[in-house]
């Protein structure tokens, strides 16, 4: 396919800039840097006709597959395709990318830029010779919008009308990342370019009357999924004496801990059968154990019985801290749970020991450099 495209390209070259109504042989170059599969083999050249053929084949194949699976071809979604392929071609390969897959050609063959100049060699876009035509034209467009908004503001001021100051919700959305912007423009950007564009967008949104350009701004912002996957707080359980208790699990590095926190207690804490004063001789660890209780102001009110295994001294203390904090959630109002979360008591610490790399002495330390 690539050879065919190459041959055709050479043919075109030999005939020179002959009178031709349409540039049929549009040569593409890839821009995707991150995709290991495509980038590694060098710039691939796919013609538009080829992509069209692939899309037709895909749609036909989708209908055949639906027939094979006994489902309705009209309502056969991508998930159904994936499931069908996994069923028909089971693969035990480790790498997901190496397994057989059937996806829309647009996802497999990355978006590429068409040729930027006409038959006579004259470029279509007026900013072609800047080298980054899409980026600069985007900057021009955005600045035009900015001037628009300022003009509108001036008009409002001239008519003595109040400027609307509706605060845009920052917390719920984010700007496109550099990679997403590169994919949108099909051009490589430098970090500096990207930050300049974001600054300009920020300037536009900070103006009071930026609501008129809301649609344009929305093209470059993404909704952040509201991260609160509502964690279900378990209700209190009661043991034989009628004392309320709650359990929690915690982990830190390789340590795993479970804590059972009882109500109406005197503040005694036991770890693996021993008192915390004996189990944790270091003050820092005991501080960590008491941290959740001290934060909620419930120091002498609860008893805790904990079990812990694995890890070292500090990791075990951290694991028990998390377990106690999780157990305390059942005793406390939702607002206080939110405060605990913002104090960092309910997050699992993801830091673990970094692996040693070959050619180095440790994770970061390199071997002693010898001049000869």
């Amino acid at each position: 396919m690539a050879a065919a495209a190459g041959r055709v390209f050479r043919l075109c070259r030999r005939w020179g800039a002959g009178p031709r109504a349409q540039m049929l042989r549009l040569i593409y170059t890839t821009t995707a840097v991150q995709r290991k599969n495509v980038g590694a083999s060098g710039p691939e050249k796919y013609t538009e006709a080829f992509i069209k053929k692939q899309i037709e084949e895909f749609n036909l194949g989708k209908r055949h597959l639906a027939n094979m699976m006994g489902e309705d071809p009209e309502t056969f979604t991508q998930e159904d395709i994936d499931r069908a392929i996994a069923y028909l071609f089971p693969s035990g390969l480790f790498d997901e990318q190496a397994r057989p897959m059937m996806k829309h050609p647009r996802e497999i063959f990355p978006e590429q830029r068409k040729i930027q100049w006409g038959e006579d060699g004259r470029p279509f876009h007026f900013l072609f010779y800047t080298g980054k035509q899409s980026y600069y034209s985007l900057m021009h467009e955005t600045y035009e919008k900015l001037l628009n908004v300022e003009k509108y503001q001036d008009q409002l001021i001239a008519q003595d009308l109040p400027l609307q100051k509706e605060k845009r919700n920052l917390a719920g959305s984010r700007w496109l990342t550099k990679i997403e912007l590169e994919e949108m423009l099909l051009e490589k950007l430098s970090d500096d370019d990207y930050s300049r564009f974001i600054q300009l967008l920020q300037k536009l949104t900070d103006l009071p009357c930026s609501d008129i350009e809301e649609k344009y701004i929305q093209k470059f912002s993404k909704e952040l999924p509201v991260q609160m996957q509502k964690v279900v707080i378990e209700p209190l359980q009661y043991d034989e004496q009628g004392v309320a208790f709650s359990t929690g699990e915690g982990r830190r590095k390789t340590a795993r801990a479970t804590a059972v926190v009882y109500d109406n207690g005197t503040g005694k804490m036991t770890v693996n059968g021993k008192d915390i004063l004996h189990y944790f001789p270091v003050l820092q660890d005991r501080e960590q154990l008491l941290f959740p209780f001290q934060f909620l102001g419930r120091i002498g009110k609860h008893d805790a019985v904990c079990t812990v295994s694995g890890g070292g001294r500090s990791a075990q203390a951290g694991a028990i801290r998390l377990a106690c904090a999780k157990a305390l959630r059942s005793f406390v109002t939702e607002k206080e749970v939110e405060f605990m979360r913002q104090a960092g008591l309910l997050t699992v610490d993801p830091r673990v020991k970094e692996r040693k790399k070959p050619g180095q002495e440790g994770a970061r330390r390199k071997f002693t450099w010898k001049k000869r």
């Binding site: 991150q34 919700n169 920052l170 917390a171 719920g172 984010r174 990679i179 952040l224 509201v226 991260q227 609160m228 390789t254 270091v282 003050l283 820092q284 660890d285 501080e287 960590q288 008491l290 941290f291 001290q294 934060f295 102001g297 500090s314 203390a317 951290g318 998390l322 939110e338 405060f339 979360r341 913002q342 104090a343 960092g344 008591l345 997050t347 699992v348 610490d349 993801p350 830091r351 673990v352 020991k353 970094e354 692996r355 790399k357």
Partner: protein, 233 residues
């Protein structure tokens, strides 16, 4: 450098891995915010908050928060400056030893001040500061340089150009000088807490070798005033 992989825990801990490997990176996704441990801030009612604080609160409600490190706690005894100083004093990861040295230092300061307090006449008693934390903070504040020197190469020669310092850098330099001073310029038999408490008390009164070092730096900066414009090459 190869992408980081979780040692021994397999795929369970799906912490964030950046697309392109940075040299300095952390296991947290960049959208995670720092935890706020101070209890009082949470007890403030909604009306008393300023605009900025309200925005911060809204942001915190949506974003995930990092886990509090083991050195941080909401107790009245945890002080960020003291923790930082302890970490800088620590050698080979021996936090237990560093912390005990720190507590012994604070105890030594308190003892010395109490001795002075009991010996002083009535009218001077109020002037003597007995709180070791106050003395520690004030001493380090007195040791902080205002201006520093940085090496700027121009025309093949390297010049020492006076340059303003950031707050973090000032604090770091004050603590570093204090620790090096106590490690090097002492008699073999004196212990660290004793020497440190001595130096802190001197610095509290704006005397002592660390303050001298600060003044020396200021003098050098003043002497190199002529090169100040090299900062903006």
């Amino acid at each position: 450098m190869a992408a980081p992989s979780v040692a021994g825990l397999g795929r369970r801990l799906r912490a964030w891995v950046p697309r392109l490997m940075q040299v300095r990176w952390s296991r947290y996704n960049p959208s995670y915010l720092e935890p706020e441990v101070n209890k009082e801030l949470y007890q403030k009612p909604l009306e008393e908050l300023t605009e900025e604080e309200r925005e911060q609160m809204e942001l915190k409600a949506v974003r995930p928060i990092k886990a509090a490190p083991p050195t941080l706690s909401s107790s009245v005894f945890s002080d960020p400056m003291i923790s930082k100083f302890t970490n800088m004093m620590m050698r080979d990861g021996n936090k237990v030893l560093a912390r005990s040295l720190m507590t012994q230092t604070l105890e030594a300061i308190k003892r010395k001040q109490l001795e002075k307090y009991h010996k002083a006449p009535e009218n001077e008693k109020e002037a003597i500061e007995c709180n070791p934390y106050v003395i520690f903070h004030q001493a380090l504040k007195n040791c902080q340089p205002i201006i520093g020197l940085s090496n700027i190469t121009k025309g093949g020669k390297t010049y020492q150009v006076p340059v303003p310092l950031k707050d973090n850098r000032k604090r770091f330099l004050a603590m570093k000088w204090m620790i090096t001073e106590c490690r090097e310029n002492k008699h073999r038999r004196t212990l660290m807490p004793e020497k440190l408490s001595q130096e802190l008390l001197l610095a509290f009164k704006n005397e002592g070798p660390v303050i001298k070092r600060k003044h020396a730096l200021h003098k050098m900066a003043e002497a190199n005033r002529a090169y100040a414009h090299f900062r903006w090459q």
